[in-house]
Symmetry: C2
Subunit: 414 residues, 2 copies
């Protein structure tokens, strides 16, 4: 009897993480002599700890197709860092109870670390487990892969939004709003903000200024750049990564001070920048915070990203079937134009808890834009459209109610 | 020789206002014996006052097709309320200088008032002018028309975004974010926020709570509703119109107090609500402010909205050719299912400076949702997809550089 497989989603979800799930499940069905039942843990690793498993045999081909077209984490994800030996031991106990021989963990850097720890623990215990990491993060900060599935779609959403909002501001600038600020995700790295630069096809098109966590913001220089941009083009569109810091290393988003209750204002970066620019330059500002909208926008997913999300899921299964545990599936870029890529793999040890920063050569000399090298890197990642099916004018996303397998073990106490 | 026509865009732009422009220009070309040259004023009525006119003869059929697929105001819009007799007189002087016999003004309630004033002034002066208003406003608050072109596309964007972000929050709620707040436009009326209710197909699906300017928010009741929703469904998605007020009639968005400089916080409603909920309920909150993104999102325009935006433009020309000045083209709903509609017209006097509130029968008894009657009204307005062409992974929007006709008159001093 072949051993069973377990797949789980981890950390912040993406527009295409379910496509990786579909890739894993579909590929696993191709190897019945290697892989028995394919389970998914509800709410990521929490579902392992709580022994809440879903048997994916219930998913029809139609379900799998809809899974590829549905954003969010269809099985639930979690933010839970494995903290104790007891938790690790519990994971192994659940794996043993359910005869799990394959663990597919779909996440970012933290999850790669969990995947590695589980793999090492199983090995030390002499338990036959092949743990494979399926990469995913909109932050695009996983090393040793051309990009992280999820990122290309967010980049496409943000670049589309900037091009659109830029046309709006340009229309109004003669007598009203002159500055628009879009706050995007990116607490430690500026990949998403930088990719918005693709929106500009020609000199003077938005975004005019990109603020990156990698480049400390001097407020005087920023205000001068805003004034200069409005003078030259009549308006100014700014894309700011949430993690932008000032020259003292403080988050600008925390510069707004505290509210009447003494709490740090949750107001965020965009309203802070709008207040700053309005006060010092006198320009009417509008601002938007994309937040989860960018991370869930399956309706404008990148076809390239979708294909890669599916491919890394399928590749993880092939690695497992080939006996290659303790690995992460990767995307290897073969050429920029035309964009060609292949699937590779790296040991988890070189991925776990690492963070790939935006390369300095992608950042323009003035710190407010991107270079041609960055455009060459980003351009193929947003290529192609892969819209979901629509019903009644809205994307027809799946809404599954999972039935959980009856547990075998006592309840785990955290 | 037939007289010339002048078209201008006014107020906040929409994803489909350029489609109305294309409708006007295309239709005007069909009546060469009635209409001579077709000009557009740059930046709306400011372009009339400044005598900055664009001759649309330069626009090819390809340009007109691209105009229909491009958001924002391609010719520039403005926020300028005609304040003086001198300005009105100047408008008439420019019309005389350019032999303008047809004035097509594309805007909301304020613009309808301007259009009416210009019409009346011309009549009083014995100048032969047919002034026709082309309706447009994402706020959907124009009376005597089934809806206002622009609204359906924004409604589709907001409902799509809520469905998507809702799936994201649901994925994370077991161990992280439990509440998501989306702030949408609507300072005086809740049309956009209410339309987001279409995202829910079944009981318990987002949005769980809709906050409307028409329903004063009692914070205690709101917090209880949030707690109750999280208890029932595990998470809570809130859509809030920017113009939501408390029970004292104050904007909630101004409740956040003042910043260190003594300025009213620009932080807005969504971060205020997030702070409130976090403080009182302890739930991790995420929030998004859609702002211009919703108003410019041509990539997810409603096909129905697009068709109606074109139709009101064409209808305005037909009214003009039929000698029907001082009118606004309207959309008349003939039936809900299937949705059928026709074009009508009403005198400007019954439209100018009026505001159509959300009908009480569209608001659920608890004030936090919409009724089946509202769904019947909203559903057809978001129906159908009309994506723009894509190049290199992004919408291929037009980027025109207009040449301005040499002026005939002295410069106007405001």
């Amino acid at each position: 009897m072949p051993m069973n497989a377990l797949y789980a989603q981890s950390g912040g979800v993406t527009p295409v993480i379910n496509a990786s799930a579909a890739g894993v499940i579909t590929a696993a069905r191709l190897y019945p002599s290697h892989i028995g039942r394919v389970f998914v843990a509800k709410n990521g690793i929490l579902g392992v700890l709580n022994e809440e498993l879903i048997d994916t045999a219930v998913l029809s081909n139609g379900d799998l197709a809809q899974l590829k077209a549905t954003p969010g984490g269809a099985f639930g994800s979690c933010r839970h860092k494995i903290k104790t030996e007891a938790e690790l031991a519990r994971i192994l106990a659940v794996f043993k109870a359910w005869d799990i021989g394959y663990f597919f963990y779909n996440g970012g850097g933290d999850s790669a670390d969990t995947c590695l720890k589980v793999s090492e623990l199983a090995e030390a215990a002499g338990y036959p487990l092949l743990a494979i990491h399926v990469p995913k993060t909109i932050d695009n900060d996983l090393p040793h892969t051309d990009n992280s599935p999820g990122f290309g779609s967010v980049a496409k959403y943000v670049a589309t939004s900037v091009r659109e909002a830029g046309l709006d501001v340009k229309s109004m600038a003669a007598s009203s709003t002159k500055v628009f600020i879009l706050e995007v995700m990116g607490r430690h790295t500026g990949w998403i903000a930088a990719a918005s630069g693709l929106a500009a096809r020609a000199e003077g098109e938005p975004p005019h200024l990109i603020l990156l966590p990698e480049v400390p913001v001097d407020e005087g220089r920023l205000l001068a750049a805003v004034e200069n941009t409005v003078m030259r083009y009549g308006y100014c569109v700014i894309v700011a990564a949430e993690g932008v810091r000032d020259t003292h290393g403080e988050f600008l988003s925390e510069a707004g001070g505290k509210d009447a209750f003494g709490h740090v204002q949750l107001g965020g970066l965009a309203p802070y920048l709008a207040g700053l620019i309005k006060t010092h330059c006198g320009f009417k500002c509008h601002w938007s915070v994309a937040d989860y909208l960018q991370r869930a926008a399956r309706h404008t997913a990148s076809a390239t990203d979708l294909a890669q999300a599916i491919a890394v899921g399928e590749a993880a299964v092939k690695l497992a079937v080939a006996g290659q545990g303790g690995m992460m599936a990767t995307i290897e870029r073969l050429s920029d134009v035309p964009y060609t890529w292949d699937i590779g793999a790296v040991p988890l040890g070189v991925v776990a808890n690492c963070e790939k920063p935006l390369p300095p050569e992608y950042i323009a000399a003035d710190g407010f834009g991107i270079t041609p090298a960055a455009r060459r890197y980003f351009a193929p990642l947003i290529a192609g459209e892969a819209p979901p099916p629509y019903v009644d004018g809205l994307p027809d996303y799946g809404a599954w109610v999972w039935s959980i397998e009856a547990p075998c073990l006592p309840v785990f106490k955290f």
